[in-house]
């Protein structure tokens, strides 16, 4: 990207010309942040509104389902509808929901009456644990393999890695998860095949339960990272400034880490940001494979019962999550790879 291909800008920026002050750069970054938010937030609300609207347009009748066939007299249904707030026009319903959501109140499940926010906060740590561990694993595995492949380019490791990455990219996370379960849980009994224990109970146990799902999630991302890092690093290592660093007598390891990797890591980290939504999707599947009590299971269950408030709430939470993560990653990358004219990678 921009970092790797930078060359002298034709001698234009002489010392006399005032360089863009660092404070200005901060302002630009903030503006971009604001812009990103401004665009994504409407989309989130749009999508939740559509879901709401679809639910209303469909012929689901939660009141009747809650009451059960016998008790669903028109009067009882009408009363329940009023209690659930379902008798207002759609837009009003949505608006009420939205304003409540901004205060943290995501409503209650139509069927269990449990506050949505409670269900979400109960299950969120599960997904978070797996996702965070997956990110860590992906960076470690992808980072080291990509670096080694780049250093020994053309060698057997490099070629093997390319092959492995191509193979892996065709495997969706849940398939990988299944493979891992078969290999490490069923045949070998090294790790448990399902269930979950929180970190507050016991950290080693917690790790035992999340390592396989996290690994399954990390595999594809690692492959993407490794492939991108290898390519970027190979390009960077060919650059003259690596030769320049060498002739200054700097140790090889230092050159590799502080000059080469520092400049090559950008695109690979961006991949992490881009893959994150897919990681979420994979997490849902993995919850099924590994019987984990996470948000994905909640989504599937409530989708089956057509429990709209829960689905809405989940949609809002996950979309917000994705947006926040993306913005954080993009801002961090823009900050790390700032160039003087304020244009990020």
């Amino acid at each position: 990207m921009a970092v790797i291909g930078l060359t002298r800008s034709g001698g234009t920026a002489a010392a006399a010309a005032p360089a863009l002050h660092r404070r200005n750069r901060g302002r630009i970054a903030l503006a971009r942040l604001g812009g990103g938010l401004a665009v994504l937030v409407p989309i989130v609300f749009l999508s939740t509104f559509i879901t709401y609207g679809l639910g209303a347009l469909s012929n689901s009748d939660p009141a009747a389902t809650i009451l059960g066939q016998d008790a669903a007299t028109p009067a009882a249904v009408a009363r329940l509808n009023r209690a659930l707030g379902l008798d207002h026009p759609l837009v009003v319903q949505y608006w009420n929901w939205l304003t409540q959501a901004l205060h943290g109140n995501l409503g209650r499940s139509w069927f269990t009456q449990i506050p949505v926010s409670q269900s979400v906060s109960q299950r969120l740590p599960v997904d978070l644990s797996i996702a965070i561990l997956a990110v860590v694993l992906a960076v470690i595995i992808g980072g080291t393999t990509g670096t080694v492949a780049a250093i020994r380019r053309g060698g057997w490791f490099d070629r093997g890695l390319t092959l492995a990455c191509s193979a892996v990219s065709t495997l969706p996370a849940f398939v990988v998860g299944i493979i891992l379960v078969v290999l490490f849980a069923v045949t070998v009994h090294l790790f448990p095949a399902n269930g979950y224990v929180g970190p507050t109970t016991s950290i080693p146990q917690w790790l035992r339960y999340i390592i396989l799902p996290a690994l399954a999630l990390a595999v594809q991302v690692s492959a993407d990272i490794a492939r991108q890092l290898r390519t970027s690093l190979v390009t960077v290592l060919d650059q003259n400034y690596i030769v320049g660093a060498k002739v200054r007598g700097l140790p090889y390891r230092r050159i590799l880490v502080r000059h080469a990797l520092r400049n090559a890591a950008g695109p690979a980290l961006t991949i992490l940001g881009n893959d994150f939504p897919q990681m979420l999707a994979g997490a849902v599947a993995l919850e099924v494979v590994f019987s984990l009590p996470g948000l994905g299971q909640l989504l599937l269950e409530s989708a089956q019962t057509r429990d709209i408030p829960v689905v809405q709430g989940l949609l809002l939470v996950t979309s917000t999550f994705v947006i926040v993560i993306n913005l954080v990653i993009n801002t961090t990358l823009n900050w790390l790879y700032r160039t003087d004219d304020g244009i990020g990678t």
Binding site: V39, L40, I43, S47, T51, L54, G55, L57, S58, S60, S166, A167, S169, T170, L171, P172, F174, V175, I178, I179, V181, V182, V186, T187, A193, N240, P277, Q278, L280, A281, V284, A285, V288, V289, L299, L300, S302, A303, Q304, R306, D307, I308, V311, L314, L315, T318, S319, V322, I323, N326
Partner: protein, 330 residues
Amino acid sequence: MTTTARRRPRAQRGLAQRGPAQPRQRPARPRSVLRLPSVRVALVILAAVAILTAFGSALAPQNPLTINANALFQGPGAHHLLGTDYLGRDVLSRLMAGTRLSVLTALEAVGIGLVLGAVPGVATVFLGRWFDFVANRITDALMTLPYIFFAVAVTAALGNNLAHAMIAVGILLAPFFFRVTRAATLEHARAQYVEAAELLGASKLHIIRVHVLRKVLPNIAVTTASMTAAALLAVSFLTFLGIGVQPPAPTWGGILSSDLDYLSQAPWAPFIPGALIAITVGALNALADAFRDRSSAGSLVTADPVTRAVIHTNSSLESADGDRQSQSVA
């Protein structure tokens, strides 16, 4: 693509008359792509899948729905080529029968994505800056959202219907089509012959139809291949999660899911549908990659590898030092 394979590649016919070692700068035409082994294998695989989609259960060796309580969890054998599942049903037949539903719904999603994405993608180049800005921002936003949540949410709203879920998937595939078509259209719409046509009075629609569309189609084709792969994965995923599956009708993902429940009895079982999915997806991706590589700029060809090597080393040394001096002495 498949029709041109019948005709003998023009490059082959012409080369005999030309002398060797002539620098060719024309980008290689898609016909020569067919010589790649990966492309050939991919096409064979996809042809098989296409046949299965069309004729589905008619070709299956046995009835995919027949339950046989005496033959549960059998491994691959003579009677059942890929073994049997937890109800004694023939796995191979189920997979073949399931192909149709999976592939058709995947194509449905791709179709939606294509129309919703490619049309604005071409149009945005001609419709002014505002439209472009808004379209781009919508695209950015859509691309960040995970499709699975929307697909499942749609089933919550509209009921457990795979077709509906795939509409959601299709909508979320549209941004990719949009991006690619927009980039390709930009590249070609700025060409000089387009300017010339405009000056000659051609209407924008005419320009699009005659000049731009033809050049953009290869890119669309490449994206379609990759997106079909993605859609297939999405279908497998959704059916795996139980969306739209009316048991006992078989789907790839559904078979995978039920295999999972009986993992201890048959640990090998999930590999079969898993492999099927992976192979098909891999074939599509290989095809997309091969065409993408070929449609980028062509390469300069000289006969002598030594000279080429030396030129390369010299020019890399010179360009390394930004040397733009000519060969004459200072």
